[in-house]
């Protein structure tokens, strides 16, 4: 593998780069990573802004807001939100946040940035496919955003787009052109994701530098690698579902439709089953949440070890649990379908596998907590977000035990309890992972410039308090029986008493969203005027901090460093326990050979 990498030693920085090849159609993984991040953040702003609009509606359903008129135009005449556009907002918020921000924005950014840098490669296996992958993602984002402007409104059948609602424009206006664009955008998104994932897998397998065995990989790389594998296994199934739905919608097939009477007429479709779509959707949909959370777990593991000045506790157990989670993630999809009319025996099987997945998750949580134990914690903003990640992952994960249990799921299925659960465990947690990664690797992205730590602290504390303020009370309205995707809960009296909880949630949501502006300012300001730190600001052991601070195509000006140890030699003492392995320095980077006075461990 190293031979191949060495062939590229002198390639790269001889080309004359034009503006277009450097900033737009770049094939350099560092630039592509930044493109992913900035596109992801832009989509994130839109997704979060949408959530604020529907939170306002839920908290003050009788109030007329001019802000609706400004953003929603004809769908909010006199400041009253149309119920269909409420459903559109919910749908597009979900789609954007899950796929565009937390899949492409998180995994796309950090897989691209870190895989070559941390395994010691000059670039991805195929820089060209990597570029194509980004531009397909960009195209997909553009189409998704264009769908917001079509006559009858964007897709509004929920982010899970269950047919027949998503198949029939008669059922809801958003299932017209809006849904067509949604499906096209997602089809392109799948292509982008597959190209990216295949590239990550090939790069990790083939381009590791000399000495970088699989058991010397940082946990980030393990997480990205396994994430890419899950993506390759499950995304094609979504593509097939999307294609079949397009067929049903536009070419008269009946994959998912049967016996339907709508708008005064019987449709010709017969023999299809919406439950088939649910199976296909969740065969991607469930692994998808691990596609979202695994990279965050990898980033958090790495950042936590670095800032605790301690090795990650149970490195091999961490890898084993990533693999176990990945395997189990492909056989638990049915827990979204306990009460869809699926055979109850299948429900039992999926309950079993679902609760099994709690075991590797618990092991990971305990290992993170133990990593903090007796550490020398550097409370950098990235570290705070990592600790916050573990906190929300535990809180959100525990309520998963309720939802994964088919008997209990009967009564909380599709209520706001579910919304609270998955926002904490995959939404907020993955966002924390994203923020942690940005604070930690910002210097690697922007040539040594660092984010302002004070603003980072403010950002973290507003977000941390706000996130619990939003999602803790939400469990209660769910357990009160309030279904999700309700335009208002005060149309009939039974849920009237939930209105003040909704107000509290919305107020927290508004505050949290304003807190994100602090991050945005910090990001943009530091991009240009950030203080330049040292080459290795966090005293980290991994290879990316040995690469040139200035971005060059090929990452290392000289030869690629050779790896001699695992990535977690923090605070390792020498044989006679008199000093650190390297005197006065509490970390040993991966490229430093075994020292004389050092005991070799089995890593």
């Amino acid at each position: 593998m190293s031979e191949h990498a060495n062939d590229h030693d002198d390639h790269g920085h001889h080309h004359k780069e034009t503006f277009v090849t450097k900033y737009i159609f770049s094939q350099d993984h560092k630039m592509i990573s930044k493109q992913y991040l900035i596109t992801g953040l832009f989509m994130g702003i839109i997704g979060i802004a949408m959530s604020l609009l529907f939170r306002l509606q839920l908290a003050w359903p009788d109030h007329q807001f001019t802000v609706y008129e400004i953003f929603l135009g004809k769908w909010a005449e006199d400041g009253v939100m149309d119920p269909n556009v409420y459903l559109s907002l919910v749908t597009i918020h979900g789609t954007i946040m899950v796929f565009f921000v937390l899949t492409a924005g998180l995994s796309g950014t950090f897989s691209n940035l870190l895989i070559p840098l941390q395994i010691g490669a000059r670039d991805m296996a195929s820089g060209f496919l990597n570029m194509v992958s980004y531009w397909l993602f960009f195209l997909s984002s553009v189409i998704m955003l264009l769908s917001l402007f079509v006559e009858a409104g964007p897709a509004s059948a929920g982010w899970t787009i269950y047919p027949p609602l998503s198949a029939l424009p008669q059922a809801i206006p958003g299932s017209g052109m809006g849904m067509t664009l949604w499906l096209v955008a997602m089809g392109i998104f799948v292509a982008s994701s597959l190209l990216g994932s295949l590239n990550y897998i090939v790069t990790v397998i083939n381009l590791r530098t000399k000495g970088m065995s699989m058991t010397r990989l940082p946990l980030t790389i393990w997480a990205f690698f396994v994430t890419a594998i899950i993506g390759v296994v499950s995304f094609p199934v979504l593509l097939s579902a999307v294609l079949m739905l397009i067929m049903d919608r536009s070419f008269g097939t009946s994959f998912f439709l049967s016996d339907i009477y709508i708008a005064g007429e019987v449709l010709h479709n017969q023999g299809g089953s919406p439950v088939l779509f649910e199976h296909l959707f969740w065969f991607l949909g469930h692994p998808e949440v691990y596609i979202v959370i695994l990279p965050a777990m990898g980033l958090v593991s790495e950042i936590m070890a670095t800032n605790a000045r301690k090795p990650i506790f149970g490195y091999r157990a961490m890898i084993a649990s990533i693999l176990a989670i990945a395997f189990l993630s492909t056989i638990v999809w049915g827990h979204h379908m306990f009460i869809t009319g699926m055979n109850p025996f299948l429900g039992s099987v999926f309950t079993f596998t679902t609760l099994l997945i709690a075991i590797p998750s618990a092991v990971k949580a305990f290992n993170w907590i133990t990593t903090l134990w007796k550490g020398n914690l550097k409370m950098n903003p990235a570290m705070l977000f990592s600790i916050g990640f573990v906190s929300t992952f535990i809180s959100g994960g525990l309520t998963g035990i309720v939802l994964g249990d088919s008997a209990l799921d009967i009564n909380v299925h599709d209520t706001m309890f579910v919304v609270a659960h998955f926002h904490l465990v995959m939404g907020i947690s993955a966002l924390y992972g994203l923020f942690a990664g940005v604070y930690h690797w910002f210097p690697k992205m922007f040539e040594g410039k660092m984010l302002n730590k004070k603003l980072g602290y403010i950002h973290f504390w507003i977000t941390a308090i706000g996130a619990y303020g939003v999602f803790f009370p939400m469990h209660f309205i769910g357990m009160a029986g309030l279904p999700r995707r309700y335009y208002t809960n005060s149309n009939f009296p039974y849920f009237d008493d939930l209105l003040d909880i909704n107000v509290v949630i919305t107020v927290f949501a508004l505050i949290t969203a304003v807190g994100q502006l602090v991050f945005l300012y910090n990001f943009i300001h530091s991009m240009f005027f950030g203080k330049v730190g040292s080459q290795n600001p966090w005293n980290s052991t991994t290879l990316e901090w040995t690469a040139e601070v200035k971005h060059i195509h090929g990452n290392w000006d000289g030869p690629i460093p050779e790896v001699h140890r695992w990535p977690y030699d923090y605070s390792k003492m020498n044989k006679d326990n008199s000093n650190y392995v390297i005197a006065g320095q509490d970390f040993v980077p991966q490229h430093i050979p075994l020292q004389d006075n050092e005991e070799e461990l089995s890593h």
């Binding site: 929920g158 809801i172 309950t351 279904p483 008493d497």
Partner: protein, 353 residues
């Protein structure tokens, strides 16, 4: 004059101290404060914040229970619902214990091991015994939960046809519900959306002998203590028949008949006398009274006062009026039910008219 001199000396002394202090500061190497890497001071502050945060988590938890504990669903109104509530309680206790302990450890460690220049971290890479323990404990606990959960689930989802349950069809369409009773023969006639015509809104096959005595109604009545087998159909898109008070839910799927069975064990009248329910109704009516003051001031129609009823809600996104698709459920004694059902017209009678 002396006083003036004394003051002058004091002032000059102060200035001198200030200046010396400044010189010392300048003599020191560059302050770590200038860097964007956390200083010991930051570690300290943020460590304390972390400790504060775990108390914030406990506080918000306690506050939610204290303030909003009363909005939760009242006691289950079906036999299996009591089992579900029991399982829920066990699960919740487990979640709370694990959650409170792990959050404490996480944040307390973040506080107590906050870094400084003088501290050293412990190189502690693995401990197989420890890892084994916290693998095996979740395994055992989850095994118990899985077995308990699966028994409950199988209990709920499998039912004996020999129990002779009352068969009721729940028919969902945008955006309302209909219920169809099997009539005297307790057997539903065949139906398909292709047969929908005029007032035969459910597409019942009128040539089917079983269909003749079927009764279609807009309000669901159930006799207490009798097992009811619901057969769900949907006309247009997916809906979900959600009856939160009975801890019951099943999707309604076009082209497919789904089912769910339960036994109601408390009448609407008795439910209205439950303490939780009385408190809830009172609170809701206070809210509505407050709203009415505004409404009347604006010259609009006042809201009606609320009394408790069981509800069948749609719980699967089904279109613009999804939020307003519900049907009342009345649980009553067998005698009351028999009187009510005898007053409903059969399909044969309705179609003749």
């Amino acid at each position: 004059m002396t006083a003036y001199l004394v003051i002058l000396v004091i002032i000059l002394f102060g200035v001198a101290v200030w200046q010396i202090n400044k010189v010392f500061k300048l003599l020191q190497p560059a302050q770590p404060e200038d860097s964007e890497v956390a200083s010991d001071k930051d570690n300290n502050t943020q460590g304390y914040m972390m400790l504060g945060f775990v108390f914030f988590i406990y506080w918000i938890l306690a506050y939610c229970f204290w303030k909003w504990g009363n909005v939760l669903l009242p006691v289950a109104a079906s036999e299996h619902g009591l089992e579900i509530d029991q399982l829920m309680l066990v699960t919740m206790v487990l979640i709370f214990v694990v959650g409170i302990v792990t959050q404490w450890l996480l944040h307390y460690f973040a506080f107590v091991y906050r870094g400084s220049k003088d501290k050293k971290a412990l190189f502690y890479a693995e401990n197989h015994k420890l890892e084994f323990i916290w693998t095996i404990i979740p395994v055992i606990v989850l095994a118990v939960l899985i077995i308990y959960g699966l028994f409950t689930w199988t209990d709920i989802m499998s039912f004996d046809e020999d129990d002779d349950p009352m068969v009721v069809e729940l028919y969902a369409y945008q955006f309302d519900w209909r219920a169809r009773y099997g009539g005297l023969d307790n057997t539903l006639g065949e139906a398909n959306v292709r047969l929908i015509e005029g007032i035969n809104q459910l597409g019942v096959d009128v040539s089917d002998p079983n269909a003749q005595d079927d009764k279609v109604v807009t309000e669901l009545h159930l006799p207490i203590g009798k097992k009811v087998l619901f057969k769900m159909r949907a006309q247009d898109v997916l809906h979900s028949a959600y009856m939160p008070h009975f801890r019951a839910q099943m999707n309604c799927v076009p082209g497919m008949i789904t089912q769910f069975a339960y036994t109601p064990n408390i009448t609407t009248k008795d439910m209205r006398l439950e303490e939780d329910v009385i408190a809830k109704v009172k609170y809701i009516n206070e809210i509505r009274t407050a709203k009415n003051i505004d409404l009347i001031a604006k010259g609009e129609e006042a809201l009606e006062m609320y009394d408790f009823d069981f509800l069948l809600l749609c719980n699967k996104i089904c279109g613009s009026n999804h939020f307003n698709m519900q049907m009342n459920i009345i649980v009553e004694t067998e005698e009351e039910f028999n009187i009510w059902i005898s007053e409903q017209g059969t399909i044969a009678e309705t179609l003749k008219k």
